[in-house]
Amino acid sequence: MLATIGHAAVVIGLAVSLFAAAASILAARSGDIGLARAGRRAVYVACGLSAIACGVMVTALLGHDFSILYVARNNATTTPPFYSFISLWAALEGSILFWTLLLTGWSSLLLYRYRSAHPALMPWAAAGLAVVAAFFFAVMTWPGDPFVSVTPVAAEGNGPNALLQNHPFMGLHPPLLYLGYTGLAIPFALTVAALVTRRLDGEWLTLVRRWTLVPWIFLTAGIVAGAWWSYEVLGWGGYWAWDPVENAALLPWLTATAFIHSAMVAERGRSLRTWTVILVTTTFVLTLLGTFLTRSGVIESVHSFTQSAIGAWFLAGVLGALVVGAVLAVWRLPDLAGTGSPPALVSRESAFLLNNLLFTGLAFAVLFGTLYPLLAEALSGERLSVGAPWFNRVSAPFFAALLFLAGVGPALPWGAASWRTLRDRFVVPALVGVLVAVVGALVGLQGLAPMLTVGLAGFSGTLLLGEVVRAARGRGRSSGQGWMRAAWGVATRNRRRYGGYLAHVGVLVAAVAVAVSASGSVQATAVLIPGQSASLAGYTVTHRQLVREPLAADPRVFETRAQVDVEGPQRGTLQPALRAYPNSVAAIATPTVMTSVGEDFYLTLMAYDPDTGAVTLRLFINPLVAWIWVGGAVVVLGAAFAIWPGRRVTAGAAAEAVTRA
């Protein structure tokens, strides 16, 4: 019964989306307002239908309705309600359903907000979004039906994938990420609209910039949350493995970040619009590519969903989006041409050009590395791996250069920079950077990469600080305020700029934390019988006993945990565990972390001997890891500050907040 409703909602959603696309295209060509309205409303209806379908699925999951195959595969009677709920996006078909809901949600938001504005662009945007929605509804109707029934109905289900029910972050990371991915369809649709109608001016650019920044915030938060979740759950002590699925999230983030920056130049004049179109299209194609990579099983990764026919469909979708974007861009290339004169060599404009080069170069490198195994096998039949060592080495120069630019960009003036400007603004920060690197070396940082990172962060941080100080001093002089109030005043009057500065500061903090933690981590493996101790870098762990019992929250799960006393800079009792889930052959490690400002003490249980109570523990001391999450939060905070409505706004819906940037 439920399955029928769900499936019907999906099929009707497909029909409605196709109608919306047709109506919107007709409305766009003929200017008929009624048709445009019909198209918009059809999108709202599609959103409602996908909400119904999601509601059906959630109801089935919470009610453990095993007549639906998806529920039988990903849920069990003992699954706690929270994990039942988030199973909506835990596996393939459900994640596509959730994706469709978010996509149609974003689309409805956009169309509702501009129901009386931008009459030339909106119908085409609606058509574009409706086509994308129709694609996803079609995937759910045919190869990836979430509501397939199964008979006979089993009494007990498989339960969620063990790795995905270990940590509540599973409720946070995918929704944030999907909000980012789906939201990035909007700038693409707007760009398609602008290319078709040849309205490639400020109207389009302002819209696209605003409607990229909000999904970008979600994407950033989703990536950071994913790294944090990976660190807390997977037990290998790291947070980024350059896994193909992680890369799939990073790639659109890189091009979207490049776009956000180059849009600032494009808004000021006629330059960089070709870049804008290319970056927006590439971002959207990369979101679809990422979906393809994770759902087709083409590249194995920790995230891989099982292989299915969906892969071929998503490949078609990726290529389709690429073709549409490329054809439109090439067709309208003459309209996109800029002023023709290059900017001054030492100016903010060239800094942005360099910024574009670095981000796209890095995105190309990461994409190349991710697809290289496929390429090599297609060419030579040879199986290869491209892993973290390659990615680390290739991406490090780009990140270092971007760190440099993060301070230099804001400090360079528009137009051309004079000697005095350069001397006033850059010499002191350069000296501070060198000083900070030397201090870092003295304090014990080993290796070129951390010292370079720290030095560049010091340089860029001082530059940013100098910008703020200069502006605050100027305002304070003219308004007579104290410097703090002056600084706040300047910031709230230039939210975009100062939000950007804050986001850059967040990036610097995260970069330093990553460099120091990557190079300064120490780890050890210890085999201990109860009562024995081992020490590492000032910490001493003593294994007390091995406890084996079912989990209180979910009695199907059998947990073996070691009770370990920790002494040292942080003290307490940790209980790293291995959990045996009925649907997973390998035991899932549940590491434990003690976090302090300076370092994390991280402990995993790798193996145990039930007869003697002996355990094999892995100890990690990871410096500054907490600052990675802090840095990510600051980035999100800065971006949110940048788009936050100023005093002029009235209390309003999310759409209002998005548009008043």
Binding site: E300, L315, L319, V323, L371, E377, V585
Partner: protein, 175 residues
């Protein structure tokens, strides 16, 4: 010259499409083995029955080396009847050897009790050294060795009657 810019589109789309399309058919876990055509790694270990079994004991007859585990469900369960059938039919012509992958003898014996013991010896590769020597990715994985001790084929994943027959033919065993 203006029309030339349209070339960008196929230039962009075709290579990407081709690479991704080629990737669709592949099983990311099917790695070709460099051992093919080379002698089987030498070993000498104890079977679950307590006897000693070495690679030299297998010389002179084709052998099927099957890496399995009691926890590898459902793949090892699915291929077990195929192995039993082959053991029964070609008992004289081929020597079947089972090697435990990251498993305990007790669990392995329970598995055999439950799913049937075909009578071929099983070795406990406790340290995992033999799995590494053969280049095993994970159970089930089966190597087909001819009478001269040269590895002729590797099959990753559960065996089917068809793949068993095909690979047995490669080592000279068949109807």
């Amino acid at each position: 010259m203006r029309a030339a810019r349209w070339l960008l589109i196929p230039l962009l789309v075709i290579p990407l499409g081709w690479v991704l399309f080629m990737g669709l058919g592949r099983d990311p876990a099917e790695i070709p083995s460099p051992l093919i055509g080379k002698p089987m790694p030498a070993f000498q270990l104890t079977t679950l029955d307590g006897d000693s079994l070495s690679s030299t004991d297998l010389a002179g007859r084709p052998a099927v080396i099957n890496f399995w585990a009691s926890w590898c469900i459902p793949a090892c369960v699915d291929e077990h009847p195929v192995l039993m059938d082959a053991a029964a039919r070609f008992a004289q012509e081929v020597q079947l050897v089972g090697i435990l992958y990251d498993d305990t003898p007790q669990d392995a014996l329970d598995f055999l009790v439950r799913y049937g013991d075909g009578g071929w010896p099983h070795i406990d590769d406790a340290s995992g050294e033999l799995a590494l020597a053969f280049g095993v990715l994970g159970p089930p994985e089966t190597f087909f060795v001819d009478a001269d001790g040269i590895v002729r084929a590797k099959h990753y994943g559960p065996l089917t009657d068809e793949s068993m027959a095909r690979n047995l033919a490669l080592i000279g065993v068949g109807p």
